[in-house]
């Protein structure tokens, strides 16, 4: 019998194939089943199994920036931020704002988000139709962050669009056009951050986070560049993934009306439902890391200076952990591993508690008022091989 050839790694993961970008699941299922370690023709490796991602993605010898340098990637704009620094520098920058994003603090901020959602629903017409991504996903999170920072509220949507542009440059092989637009996105958000900082310096003393971080910079605990990049991220992407989370939740509720009812009537089910929404929402499909020392994963020794992509989107549908992965099933065993969607290790999402609290608070407002949600028209999804986000979702509540 003829033996089929082992497919080349590059064939297993067609990063630029529009169908792959739209719905990568069949490709992920295949590598989960048959190719837990994929080696690509450029020498990179791809890891997909849940157990391997959990164990290795946070390996202390992995870094976020290639040891050869970031080159001319637009993401050089964040080299002085928690995203791309390591070790003590990373801790120092992180600690200037992390205490404002603890679970306890997040509960306070979520109240602002809930009020914002309520106001949006009050403005809704009798037909129950609303641009939910913006009004219930983006704006509540943006308003909550405005409160945290101590700044005026603003329309969050331009920041979503700008962040989506920057995310395109995190894809496996961004085009020249995508790189140009990513630089535009960063330019916009950095300009906004600099303006906010200047304004707050002219009116200091409110003791909120921006004021405190400016103080940290003035006292030498943050460089000016670190301050600007931190504010660019905190303000610029405050609502990006919360918006995706809410859009994904609403689509899940529309497709599974019994789940909306369960959230409404069964308070004990809520956290489980939210975790399942998170498992499926996948704003960040993968983490790219670089080895600095040889790293042994299964029977492969990965040499130093190698890119390794850990696909969270695959790990979160590993049949060994999440059987029937395509189903919305909130009775899955409560695994902290669902937090995998927020990353892991030093660079895990610092906004996790914030995102969860805002999501919880807004969904609670929705189930208080309504019994059902339906999607109206076609959602506008913005996707790459690396991220999944939204720029439009209209729904009808009843």
């Amino acid at each position: 019998m003829e033996q089929t050839e082992t497919p080349a790694g590059d064939d297993l993961l067609p990063w630029s194939d529009p169908e792959f970008i739209r719905e990568p699941w069949p490709w992920f299922d295949r590598i989960l089943r048959d190719h837990p370690i994929v080696k690509l023709s450029d020498g990179s490796y791809v890891i997909s199994k849940h157990a391997d991602v959990m164990k290795y993605a946070k390996h202390p010898t992995l870094v976020s920036v290639s040891p050869d340098g970031i080159g001319d990637s637009p993401w050089a704009a964040n080299l002085n931020s928690v995203l791309l620094t390591e070790g003590e520098r990373h801790s120092r920058i992180l600690r200037t704002f992390s205490t404002w994003l603890t679970p306890k603090m997040a509960q306070k901020w979520a109240e602002v988000a809930a009020d914002s959602a309520r106001a949006a629903l009050d403005r809704m017409g009798p037909d129950g139709v609303i641009e939910a991504h913006r009004e219930l996903g983006v704006q509540p999170a943006q308003d909550a962050m405005a409160h945290v920072l101590g700044i005026d509220r603003e329309d969050g949507f331009p920041y979503i669009h700008a962040t989506n542009l920057t995310m395109m440059a995190m894809g496996w092989d961004p085009s020249g056009e995508e790189v140009r637009r990513a630089n535009e996105g960063f330019g916009y958000m950095m300009f906004q951050a600099e303006t906010l900082i200047e304004k707050k310096r002219a009116n200091p003393g409110d003791g909120q986070l921006l004021d405190e971080m400016i103080k940290a910079a003035d006292e030498g605990r943050l460089t000016e560049r670190e301050l600007k990049e931190s504010i660019q991220i905190l303000w610029g992407s405050a609502a990006h993934n919360p918006g995706q989370l809410m859009a994904s939740a609403l689509v899940d509720f529309a497709d599974n009306p019994d789940v909306f009812q369960a959230y409404k009537h069964d308070v004990d089910a809520r956290e489980h439902i939210l975790n399942e929404v998170i498992r499926r929402s996948l704003p960040e499909m993968a983490l790219d890391r670089y080895t600095t020392e040889p790293l042994q994963i299964r029977d492969v020794e990965i040499p130093p200076g190698t890119r390794v992509r850990f696909i969270l989107g695959a790990a979160l549908r590993d049949p060994e952990v999440f059987p029937n992965a395509d189903e919305f099933d909130y009775h899955r065993p409560k695994e902290a591993s669902m937090a995998l969607a927020f990353g892991l290790g030093a660079h895990r999402c610092v906004g996790q508690a914030f995102a969860r609290a805002v999501g919880r608070a807004v969904i609670a407002v929705l189930v208080e008022r309504f019994d059902k949600v339906e999607v109206v028209g076609e959602p506008v999804w913005v996707r790459s091989d690396r991220h999944r986000n939204c720029e439009g979702l209209t729904v009808r509540f009843s």
């Binding site: 959990m54 164990k55 946070k58 202390p60 801790s91 600690r95 992390s98 205490t99 994003l101 603890t102 679970p103 306890k104 603090m105 956290e271 065993p333 409560k334 695994e335 902290a336 591993s337 937090a339 030093a346 610092v350 508690a353």
Partner: protein, 152 residues
């Protein structure tokens, strides 16, 4: 008995939530208590405390998080006499790290060296496990109160 002193050291706020859960549990048993962040607590006071609950997460590669570190440093430099202190210990960690739950181990060792007596077993929450912080903490405090002679 004096109020039980609940001291927590945290990096991302999870140990604080555990401290609150434990405080609530003690409250339900009618036990007076106080919750304090380790970085604001004067270690000299510890020599006058009957019973304390210490809670810390582990940061990075087995290190002490930002509010535990100064507390531990103060213990090591001031060396208060803790021979009349009894303490229970709960650690937050992640078993996929080799240094799983290292920070609570460091604290327990130092407190014991200064003369304090540990009550019950060290509680551990595993971030890679299936239980929530609350589930693990409540089960642990329940077992610890049962095994210890803590009067109401």
């Amino acid at each position: 008995m004096d109020p039980i002193e609940i001291l927590f050291g945290t990096e991302s706020g999870n140990a604080e939530m555990v401290a609150d859960d434990i405080a609530e549990a003690l409250g339900r048993h009618g036990i007076e208590h106080e919750v304090t962040s380790m970085d604001t607590y004067d270690v000299d006071q510890l020599s006058t405390v009957d019973v304390a609950v210490v809670i810390t997460s582990t940061y990075g590669d087995g290190e002490l998080p930002m509010t535990t570190a100064p507390f531990h440093d103060a213990l090591v430099t001031k060396r208060p006499d803790l021979s009349s202190l009894r303490f229970a210990a709960f650690g937050l960690g992640d078993s996929t790290y080799e240094t799983y739950g290292n920070a609570i181990g460091i604290l327990v060792k130092t407190l014991t060296e200064l003369g304090a007596t540990q009550i019950g077993e060290t509680g551990r929450h595993d971030a890679s496990g299936a239980e929530t912080y609350t589930e693990t903490a409540l089960a642990w405090i329940s077992a610890t109160l049962e095994s210890a002679d803590i009067t109401q």
